[in-house]
Amino acid sequence: MPKITFPARFELLDEIRDLVAHTARDGGFTEKDIYSLQLAADEAASNIIEHAYLGVADASIDISCDMQSDIIVITMHDTGQSFDPAKVKKPNLEADLSDRQIGGLGIYLMRKLMDEVSYESNLTGNLLTMTKRRR
């Protein structure tokens, strides 16, 4: 799977969303699903930049985005701090305004927008894999 290395900066989110949209459009996804895929990829990359690479200069993210039959597979590899998304508490979407927490919302959206989200960490870094089937 070809990988593209992006500098881990928020200014590159536009290009990451464009890469995902391009693959998804070629893969026959609807515009509604393309928006969902872009949002999920944006939230994933934003989390890596904001949390995994907190305070790290010159960091980068290796991203691949491909169709495997009718499934889009997006991977993001980083070498920052690992974290287990399974341990991130689901935000309370029923809480009223004053108790509403914004933390964890990105991961929650990724899970809702994609069919599957998986995460592995080892000595070479962290690998996030997200998939969604074309409907």
Partner: protein, 111 residues
């Protein structure tokens, strides 16, 4: 992203165009905070030309809504939300935290 603020007698109308993500959300927050710092707590956010908003933008809206509603001094309402952005806001459980309007006339008139 491009932001324009129009001050009306009863509220501020803040129009945000383009894309709000982690790169641009800080400037969106600043525009909202500026209104609050000027003592304006009744705010309508015009999203008619907004193409995209991630949770970074939702966070800015939530923080401002909290500040506006404090002491019952006002509130932030959303205007002309596209279907895509509305779906994401719904998924995040945000739609019940904001009144929404189909056009700026109704939104500005609601204050």
């Amino acid at each position: 992203m491009e932001i324009t603020t129009q001050e009306f007698k009863h509220c501020d109308l803040i129009k945000v165009k383009g894309r709000v993500d982690s790169a641009t959300a800080p400037d969106f927050s600043k525009a909202l905070e500026k209104a609050n710092n000027d003592g304006h707590f009744k705010i309508a956010v015009d999203m008619s030309e907004l193409e995209y908003m991630s949770s970074a933008g939702f966070r800015a809206l939530l923080a401002t809504q909290r500040n506006c509603k404090k002491l019952n001094r006002g509130e932030l309402v959303l205007v002309s939300i596209s279907d895509r952005i509305r779906e994401a806001l719904e998924l995040a459980g945000f739609t019940e935290l904001f009144k929404t309007f189909d056009n700026t006339v109704d939104a500005v008139g609601s204050f």
